[in-house]
């Protein structure tokens, strides 16, 4: 908010990838690839991209198959385990306590920050209350936290989630920068 010019500049660039992604989804929803669905999909996508401009997604990494499989596999396991845990909390007699926990991420990318936040929010029991782009900080509301030890365990789990995202998509430079941050924190 402090620098409106920078924000508008980031918004101004036309986003071709988003156009095709949106049109692709439109065709998927219609369930068949015909000239009609493709053309109408492109028209709707063009409207959305022009009327609701968003900052471009900066991505210069590659998809690492092993890292990607690990990310998806671990996410699905987390989803099942956490769903059962939250279901347990719902059915138990006493109300669970919760906490708002600060997580300082290590990567320096909007995309990885967004993906980490999305994945953490999708897994039951935690959701992003506040995100700060300038310091790469997520504030998460987490259910079932009783004390500082629980909070620390969650913080570690959140950083592990970010690590899996970076190692699934990061470029060599990003991976190196990430490892350096990690080493620096350990010292």
């Amino acid at each position: 908010m402090s620098a409106p010019t920078a924000t508008t500049q980031r918004h101004r660039k036309f986003q071709w990838p988003l156009l095709f992604i949106l049109a692709g989804f439109w065709v998927l929803f219609w369930g068949s690839v015909t000239p009609g669905t493709v053309v109408s999909g492109l028209a709707v996508a063009l409207f959305v991209v022009m009327v609701y401009p968003l900052p471009p997604i900066v991505f210069d990494g590659t998809i690492h198959p092993v890292g990607m499989l690990r990310l998806i596999g671990r996410f699905l396991t987390d989803l099942v385990v956490a769903s059962i845990q939250v279901a347990g909390m719902v059915l138990r007699k006493e109300h669970p306590t919760s906490a708002v926990i600060q997580v300082d991420l290590r990567s320096q990318s909007d995309l990885y920050m967004t993906l980490t936040g999305e994945l953490l929010t999708l897994v039951p029991g935690s959701l992003v209350v506040e995100a700060r782009r300038s310091t790469r900080t997520l504030f998460m509301h987490v259910i079932g936290i009783r004390d500082e030890a629980d909070a620390e365990r969650f913080r570690q789990a959140a950083l592990d989630q970010e690590r899996r995202v970076v190692f699934a998509l990061g470029s060599q430079a990003e991976l190196a920068a990430y490892r350096e941050r990690e080493e620096g924190e350990r010292r």
Binding site: A82, H141, I143
Partner: protein
């Protein structure tokens, strides 16, 4: 056992488990004390619940165009559910719709004023 029978069994298990998770989400919505904890109950077990129901439907219908559509539904749900959870959760937090006695740690309140981007 032939494929239709196996498909029926997979579908029954998936759809019933999915429905159960959605039911538990509804119970949580009624039982939990404040908006933020209700968000957890309301938005989450239902994510897995919906995915299971979609798998159940996919097994019955098969075919690339059905699978494509189910995949699109799943992706949209996965992309949009966190956004709405975040927006509602953020508003609830900022307006202090929080039961303090259930919030054991709060690391955001002390730094609320500074660096808002």
């Amino acid at each position: 056992m032939t494929w239709p029978v196996i498909a029926d069994i997979i579908t029954s298990v998936c759809v019933l488990t999915g429905a159960l998770l959605s039911l538990i989400a509804a119970v949580g919505l009624l039982r939990f004390p404040d908006l933020l904890t209700r968000m957890h109950a309301g938005t989450k077990p239902q994510v897995l619940g919906l995915l299971l129901i979609l798998v159940g439907v996919g097994v019955q219908f098969g075919g690339p165009d059905h699978i494509g559509m189910l995949f699109a539904v799943a992706m949209f749900q996965l992309l949009t559910a966190p956004i709405s959870a975040h927006m509602v959760g953020r508003a609830a937090y900022l307006y202090r719709h929080v039961h303090e006695e259930y919030l054991v740690i709060d690391e955001l309140m002390p730094v609320m004023g500074d660096g808002a981007e």
